[in-house]
């Protein structure tokens, strides 16, 4: 358990590991500190309170939340298939799952356009049959964000499932529970921490999504201009403003993630050890 007092005679951790870990911390924190130092603190308040910024922030939070829900809905079952079935070609499927991680997001956006765009493989039928066009809508933002964020969720849940013992699922089967019932009542609650970790990664990735969004969904205030897009455009004219907007995005995402964590963790404590 975390926070337990270690025995005093435990040997000290290797210096090399500590040194490299310290470098890692500097590596992560350094650029962020530089951002903090150069931030236009005196203007920060005004920048945050401005209408367009709040609009972009609100859109970002809404779309990232929707994308996370979409990823949970689709990604948890996919992870289950990867971890718990003997489906042929699972290795290939796992590789396909990680594709959006490797693909430059802009290419992902183009790929989404060629599928769901007005002249896309699927999109052209959506247009002629239903008069629906996906690009340039908030829905397109959610799709783009979910596309790039899904691997984070699937990999996290897949890992949690594979390291979770199947013994409880076997026990449930001997009690006559179908795999679906077992999945809902046993598997899912037991891997909840892994699902939570995946959802957090997924949300963070969706919140920071830029390339696929601007390519597939476009950029229009209130509809598709999320915070990262607003930051990019601010960079073109006023880098200081871009820095300020980045800080807002970082601050809000940290607040959301920490808030969620404490909520979930308190809900989970007292559960499985």
């Amino acid at each position: 358990m975390v926070g337990r007092v270690r025995p005093r005679r435990r040997s000290r951790p290797p210096v090399l590991l500590l040194a490299l870990a310290a470098v890692a911390v500097l590596f992560l924190v350094g650029p962020f500190v530089a951002l903090l130092v150069t931030a236009p603190w005196s203007r920060l308040g005004g920048l945050i309170a401005s209408g367009p910024v709040l609009q972009a922030l609100w859109l970002s939070l809404r779309t990232a939340t929707a994308a996370t829900v979409l990823c949970l809905l689709l990604g948890v079952p996919l992870a289950w298939v990867l971890a718990r079935t003997a489906l042929p070609g699972r290795g290939l499927l796992r590789a396909v799952t990680t594709m959006p991680l490797v693909l430059p997001p802009v290419v992902g956006g183009v790929a989404l356009l060629t599928l769901l765009g007005r002249r896309g493989l699927l999109g052209r039928h959506l247009d002629t049959w239903f008069g629906v066009t996906v690009p340039f809508t908030s829905t397109a933002v959610v799709i783009a964000e979910a596309f790039v964020a899904l691997p984070f969720l699937v990999l996290a849940v897949d890992g949690a499932l594979r390291s979770a013992d199947e013994q409880y699922e076997q026990a449930a089967a001997t009690l006559g529970a179908t795999r679906w019932y077992t999945f809902r009542r046993i598997t899912l609650p037991l891997v909840a921490p892994g699902v939570l970790a995946g959802a957090v990664l997924c949300f963070a990735r969706a919140l920071g999504e830029f390339g696929a969004t601007i390519t597939f969904a476009g950029n229009y205030p209130g509809t598709t201009r999320t915070m990262p897009l607003a930051i990019y455009l601010a960079m073109e004219q006023d880098p200081a403003q871009a820095v300020a907007l980045s800080l807002v995005l970082i601050g809000v995402s940290l607040a959301v993630l920490i808030g969620l964590r404490t909520r979930w963790l308190s809900a989970l404590t007292g559960g499985p050890s």
């Binding site: 013994q167 076997q170 449930a172 001997t174 006559g176 050890s273």
Partner: protein, 218 residues
């Protein structure tokens, strides 16, 4: 119901090849050292392990027939298995654990909980009904596991070293519970143990096993 099983499972280390018939209401103890294939036999009967050869028939139901390509999945076999390390669901309460099988089979919650309470009472665990299963002692958890399996009303009861993980004090109590509630006169019971004393105390018939086969009879 009668259990007719011929189970062949090939493993790199050994081959299990055991033929066993258990009459309704009969309790058979499989006794032998670790690695004799006793647990593998139970898991094969429960459908958790596929057979390499053989046939498992329970009453009128063919559960496995390698020659015909029949394999009924575990959740449809109605084979109750009490595991060596209880495997109570850590995120559920003792009551929810015992009610699990009934709920899974569609019994409404109030009814399932009422029956679960009765089973908990029989195994002496009613005072702990609301406790999280993760916080039960080994003996308590094994009692809950037994109640959980019995509550699901299986057609055959398979007990895999149910007393092995218990301390000396808890053992007689649970043996008494098994004796009083596990044997209902119709259900075949297979008890796996490496304790000859347990076997003699509970079983009608003892089958000694060595290296996957029935040991030469004495």
């Amino acid at each position: 119901m009668r259990l007719d099983a011929r189970v062949v499972v090939r493993r790199p280390a050994f081959t299990l090849d055991l033929e066993l018939t258990v009459q309704p209401g009969e309790t058979v103890a499989l006794v032998g050292p670790n690695g004799a294939g006793k647990s593998t036999f139970l898991q094969a009967v429960a459908g958790l392990i596929g057979l390499d050869d053989g046939k498992v028939v329970l009453g009128p139901h063919v559960l496995d027939d390698v020659a015909d390509g029949v394999h009924v999945p575990t959740e449809l076999r109605r084979c109750g298995l009490v595991f060596q390390h209880h495997r109570v669901f850590p995120h559920l309460s003792a009551l929810e654990n015992v009610a699990f099988g009934l709920r899974a089979q569609g019994v409404p919650r109030p009814e399932a909980h009422e029956q679960a309470r009765q089973w908990l009472d029989r195994v002496g665990m009613l005072p702990h009904a609301g406790r999280s299963a993760a916080r039960l002692s080994g003996g308590q958890a094994q009692a809950v596991a037994l109640a959980r399996t019995l509550a699901a009303e299986p057609d055959v009861l398979l007990l895999d070293e149910p007393f092995a993980a218990l301390d000396e004090a808890a053992r007689p109590l649970l043996q008494e519970v098994v004796r009083r509630h596990a044997f209902d006169g119709e259900r075949p019971v297979v008890l796996v143990t490496h304790e000859p004393a347990d076997a003699r105390a509970l079983a009608d018939r003892v089958v000694p096993m060595v290296a996957g086969r029935v040991a030469a009879t004495t």
